[in-house]
Symmetry: C2
Subunit: 371 residues, 2 copies
């Protein structure tokens, strides 16, 4: 069982506290992605210094390497990666779907071949939940089919129905532990009536929190927001809401204004490794030659080590030279930027000024191009 | 001018303090290599946490990218890379020699093409010293020709004589600054009489410290030590002695016992990026499958984050997965190991027990294979 308190509201946006076996998370919160038992280029200390208090682990990657039973024998994922704070694990559903030619979906689950060595595996709702238990997840995700986009309505409907049947099996397989919970996932593509049926069916099963899945996979921000407008009001007000795989800063702001509490996305970490930095002046490409002689910090208002210790010229030099330190510093900066955005949103909600903050962030977003 | 105090002696080994514009270095000391204005995979904070108080910067790499004048305009190398402690820069001589087909040596200097873009450059003693001044080096190295090994005696002799003429030009070009100095480099291959002549000529010019160059390039440890036995006693007792490009832990121990004070080598950093770890049990290859389930720390006696926070199983997983964190943790471990080795040598010299310590390290070295 996992508990959640809503603290303040501003329109549909709300602040809250998610209480887990590994600490309390102030929401809205962004969860950095730690695919292979590490948030790429970050030590646990550096990650915690960004403000992160929950990260996402990937069932698919960890079941293949190093293996869920191995991590369990070594004391669980928290101990394995030396992360004392909370962990949410995905179900593996999204990754196995994306294997395309390497997988087969049946009522039982998904049979697939490993992208690492071609070995055969079967992931079912029961096995996914078992793996997440072996990892020691604070938040387990139900095993779902992430419906592709675009897709015919009948395919979206069938997929949504399968996800509901898998949700029931996932819920049944989940073993309750103190401070741990399981979230269900609402699917249904871009069709409001299917989202409504999915939400109702998922709520009827009963979960500790509810995720909105199958978005940010090509449908565009306006459609994402429209689906949230249709879906979030169907979800229980006293339970956390998680928008999976989203997104850019402006996506997060818009989703928070529509009542979302939790996010995950590889964008800040992946961007950090390709020399893209999110700043209060917009997104910067540190490889651009115009930074070569710039003694200014990356972002004057940022508290992170990249901004307080170095110039844009230095970060440019590291990026051009392919130095690991470029990935370290820019990842830490981007995660700090995301954490500070979430903190600013929480403050604005508490102060009742979320609309003003959203307008400012929208203007930053408008200025952003690959500078 | 740079000052050096000898504090204690045990046989030929001695402890000392090198006083620079950026702090005091306890010797014997190991200098991590920061080729491209970063010690690869290390933040400055992580590097300082290993115990390092001086690092080596590479004139060749920095003159090509980002350029010495650019670094000077940005406030010098210390500010550029946010390293508040001391920096020794090499002269570029070793790197341009290794360009082989891309360079031409004349009395004037070395004409070469950049390995980055093929652009043409000329490195002379005067330009090398000027670049090191632009970088803001605490310790400048004279421009030398690193004699290849093996080489005919007449070639070694001619090379040594050229290095002496370049040493005189380097010394003349050096502009004295408080807390900064210039070191001469003794060459002469594996020939004791040439080493004697090189040492006498270099000392006659007069430097703040003396390096032994042209070793650890294939001649083997016994020959390295024999050259040190022939060379070090020729050097002034009150000046720091630097063995360039060395080496493995057992090489350092043996060289300290022969009176060397300073070292640099890419081995601990490069090894860290290829999953090789120096430990009190010998060298370990973390990619080896035998570590996959090992919950023990890398080195029980080590104080570094890799050893206090993680298991060998985790480090193995990171290495197998190609994760940046493997490079971060293993580099920090190896540099901590080297720093702690130097600290142990200093303590043993002060206590008069260097021979006992050397015997212990020799036994570790004997046990080391790629486990």
């Amino acid at each position: 069982m996992i508990t959640f308190d809503v603290l303040a509201r501003d329109g549909l946006a709300r602040t809250g506290r998610l209480h887990t076996a590994h600490g309390t998370i102030d929401t809205p919160a962004f969860m950095p992605v730690g695919t292979a038992a590490t948030v790429k280029a970050m030590t646990p200390e550096a990650l915690a210094a960004t403000g992160a208090r929950i990260l996402l682990g990937n069932t698919y990657h960890l079941m293949l390497r190093p293996g869920a039973e191995r991590i369990a024998a070594l004391g669980g994922l928290h101990k394995f990666m030396n992360w004392p704070h909370a962990i949410l694990t995905d179900s593996g559903g999204f990754q196995v779907m994306s294997l395309a030619a390497l997988r087969t979906i049946t009522e039982e689950g998904v049979a697939f071949r490993s992208h690492l060595d071609g070995s055969r595996h079967l992931l079912t709702p029961e096995r996914s939940v078992e793996i997440q238990r072996l990892l020691g997840a604070d938040v387990t995700m139900a095993f779902d089919e992430c419906t592709p986009y675009p897709a015919e309505r009948h395919a979206v409907e069938a997929s949504m129905a399968l996800t509901l049947r898998w949700a029931e099996r996932s819920r049944r397989a989940f073993v309750d532990r103190p401070g741990c919970g399981i979230f269900g996932i609402v699917q249904g593509g871009v069709h409001p009536d299917l989202r409504h049926r999915s939400a109702a069916g998922t709520i009827a099963i009963g979960f500790d929190g509810y995720a909105v899945g199958g978005l940010a996979i090509g449908e565009g921000q306006a459609t994402t927001f429209a689906v949230l407008d249709a879906t979030v009001p169907c979800l229980p007000a006293d339970r956390p809401r998680y928008l999976m795989g989203v997104g850019k800063p402006a996506d997060l702001v818009g989703a928070v204004m529509r009542g979302i509490d939790l996010f995950d996305c590889v964008l800040p970490t992946r961007s950090g490794r390709t020399a893209q930095a999110f700043t209060r002046e917009g997104t910067l490409n540190l490889r651009n030659a115009r930074h070569a002689d710039d003694s200014a910090p990356l972002d004057r208002a940022c508290r992170c080590p990249a901004c307080t210790g170095f110039s844009r010229a230095y970060l440019h030099h590291l990026a051009k030279s392919g130095e690991i330190l470029a990935s370290i510093l820019l990842t830490q900066h981007n995660l700090t930027y995301y954490a500070d955005l979430m903190a600013a949103l929480r403050q604005a909600i508490a102060a009742g000024t979320i609309s003003e903050l959203a307008a400012i962030w929208q203007s930053v977003s408008d200025r952003s191009s690959n500078q």
